[in-house]
């Protein structure tokens, strides 16, 4: 708990809050100011919009503790505000609300639009209001109400340009330049479609040697930071995979069924895993095959498909996982080669994201989930 002092609707308030409490919950739960509504809690719907230090902001994307010393104005704080009175009257006149859930946020944004821009076109109102969602779809009335109030009003004074101090040039310091952020897999040909992907990785080692390594889970697993095999029983593998994508760091625990066909140098795995942190589950299939490449090289063909449920699937931006898998494949190739030659693995890349552990998680197929 931490102590918080701020002004709410002109009243000084001091309270104890948990750092994770966002401003909307603090207003509603602690201060009983329930006019602030929570729709999506991810900044999209706009229902929780309040004024912080005079500017409309998302109270669901603002931690209460971060408002220490701030001046917060929620919908309850506008009873004697002339502009808000005009807007309220116009909302009534133009039937600008049905269920009323979005209205507190709509009014906070509407007041900002009129006071900042003055008389404003319908097109600009619609653009400015795009961050406030009305599920009754009463936009026509809302836009007309705002337009009617804006008529004849002047825009706010233009912003004062901040003074810049003379730039202190650092003595010819080198700028770090990267032509290509990460090397691509050599001759990496890959196909990607939605939640499936095929990646070809060229390895500078003979086919038998590569297959030996890939078919021995116990041999590969120790080289893979983040992946941990806890149990191998017959064809069933149990374990855990930790991955990192910026601030998102799920850890999938689960089990998979593995079959190997040494004659064809082919492996298959199907499994499922769960990350309790994000409450997400992933399941999928993977297959890998080692074939002869040019000049004593081997080519590993990995095919993956995955399904994801839970929170991570709400964040589904499938291209991002595919890009990452491609990126990691290159480093996986390098690391696998190093392992086969008995060399140490290259150091992990910045931000603790080690491509090998990611590609391994791909191979053992719980990664798939996360996209």
């Amino acid at each position: 708990m931490a102590t918080l002092s701020l002004s709410i609707n002109g009243r000084s308030v001091t309270a104890e809050v948990e750092p994770r409490t966002h401003l909307a919950d603090f207003l509603r739960g602690d201060q009983h100011l329930t006019g602030t509504h929570l729709g999506c809690e991810q900044g999209v719907c706009g229902a929780c919009t309040v004024l912080i230090d005079g500017k409309p902001q998302r109270s669901c994307l603002t931690f209460a503790i971060d408002c220490d010393g701030a001046d917060v104005r929620s919908i309850e704080g506008f009873d004697n505000d002339p502009l808000m009175n005009e807007l309220r009257a116009a909302f009534t006149k133009y039937h600008a609300l049905q269920c009323g859930f979005c209205t507190p946020g709509m009014l906070a944004s509407a007041r900002d639009i009129v006071s900042r821009l003055g008389e404003v076109s319908e097109e600009r109102i619609r653009l400015e209001l795009s961050g406030n969602i009305c599920r009754c779809t009463g936009y026509v009335g809302i836009v007309e109400a705002i337009r009617s109030v804006s008529l004849g009003k002047p825009p706010a004074m233009t912003a004062v340009v901040a003074n810049a101090r003379p730039l202190k040039r650092v003595s010819e310091e080198t700028v770090v330049r990267t032509a290509e952020p990460m090397p691509r897999a050599q001759a990496g040909i890959s196909k990607a479609e939605g939640s499936s992907l095929e990646e070809r990785i060229v390895i500078n080692a003979p086919v038998d040697q590569v297959w030996d390594a890939l078919s021995d889970l116990r041999r590969v697993a120790p080289c893979v930071p983040g992946a941990e095999i806890t149990e191998i029983e017959g064809e069933t593998v149990k374990g855990r995979v930790r991955i990192a994508l910026g601030p998102i760091k799920p850890s999938f625990g689960g089990e998979a069924h593995v079959t190997m066909d040494p004659a064809k140098r082919e492996g298959r795995m199907s499994g499922r895993g769960r990350d309790s942190g994000t409450g997400s589950s992933a399941e999928g299939e993977a297959s890998w095959r080692v074939i002869e490449g040019d000049a004593g090289q081997s080519v590993v063909i990995v095919a993956l498909s995955w399904r994801l449920t839970g929170m991570l699937s709400q964040f589904n931006r499938s291209g991002i996982v595919q890009d990452m898998v491609h990126r990691l494949a290159s480093t996986f190739a390098a690391n696998l080669e190093a392992m086969l030659k008995g060399e140490a693995s290259p150091p992990a890349s910045p931000q603790g994201l080690n491509p090998l552990r990611l590609i391994w998680s791909v191979i053992i197929k719980r990664l798939f989930g996360w996209s």
Partner: protein, 279 residues
């Protein structure tokens, strides 16, 4: 929809923040405006044992300029850039870009440095700073500063060149000349959402600069030097003709539909060059 518990520290200086980052060894997150991080925390996609709030840290709202560069402190908000509270050295490009980021309520809190450090491939500043040839100033423990070219700052989605103990403190934006023209186009299905494809172009003959970037690629933004060279030589037909091929060359793993979408974004950015001056 509530974040997992975390500790919160309000850093008074960048050195306090970098020391804490170093001490927590990757288990702490920097909180600037929090407009990208907080949704991830609320959804519990991200968890962090410690948030280091740098909003009020000394120096992050600095503004320094000379004849060729404006260095913008990482803590300025998108709305302040939109409103012109920060001098725009790019003949209106930065103000135009700022106005198109999410929604005003988000722009009032979200910061330019936070957006770059968060490194969502679809974020506007990532591509804008790449096309401008800006330089990002990163500070680590002991006040050690590194300057990183913006066009190579992203290594992948949410992955940058920032070391575990580094904070992005300023963005050095080169001044465009009075003859410079720019175009910027992003493909969105709804105003304010993250772009599905993005094109940005700058042509400044006086400074011998012609750069084109294709962004929102799910990975780092890509420069299109061939198309840019044709554009600089005033061979517009050749530039547009070769664009599709260059997009395929820089985004070989994208599906054809995505390649087309990105080519369209760049084509529209080029077409917008003559009309989008000085907003």
């Amino acid at each position: 929809m509530k974040p997992a518990a975390f500790d919160y520290v309000r850093a008074r200086s960048v050195s306090e923040a970098t020391d804490l980052l170093a001490k927590k060894e990757g288990d702490a997150k920097i909180l600037a405006g929090g407009q990208s991080l907080t949704p991830m925390l609320n959804l519990r996609l991200a968890r962090s044992s410690l948030l280091i709030d740098i909003k009020r840290a000394e120096g992050l709202r600095s503004l320094e300029a000379d004849g060729s560069i404006v260095a913008i402190g990482a803590g300025w908000t998108h709305a302040e850039i939109e409103d012109g509270a920060v001098e725009d050295p790019t003949r209106g490009l930065m103000r135009h870009v700022a106005r198109g980021i999410a929604y005003r309520a988000v722009r009032n809190r979200g910061t330019i440095g936070g957006s770059l450090a968060h490194a969502d491939p679809a974020a506007d500043w990532v591509s804008t700073m790449a096309v401008l040839g800006a330089t990002l100033v990163c500070e680590g423990t002991g006040g050690k500063r590194r300057r990183v070219a913006a066009d190579g700052f992203l290594q992948g989605a949410f992955l940058t060149q920032l070391a575990a103990d580094e904070v992005l403190v300023a963005i050095e934006v080169p001044r465009l000349s009075a003859q410079a023209r720019w175009g910027y186009y992003k493909v969105c299905r709804k105003a304010g959402e993250f772009a599905h494809a993005l094109g940005a172009v700058i042509h400044d003959p006086a400074k011998n600069i012609c750069r084109i970037v294709v962004g929102a690629t799910d990975g780092p933004p890509k420069l299109l030097p061939r198309t840019a060279a044709a554009l600089a030589a005033d061979r517009m037909a050749e530039a547009l003709d070769g664009l599709d091929r260059e997009i395929v060359a820089v985004l070989p793993e994208h599906e054809p539909a995505a390649q087309r979408l990105h080519a369209t974004a760049v084509r529209r950015a080029i077409a917008a060059m003559s009309t989008t001056m000085d907003h």
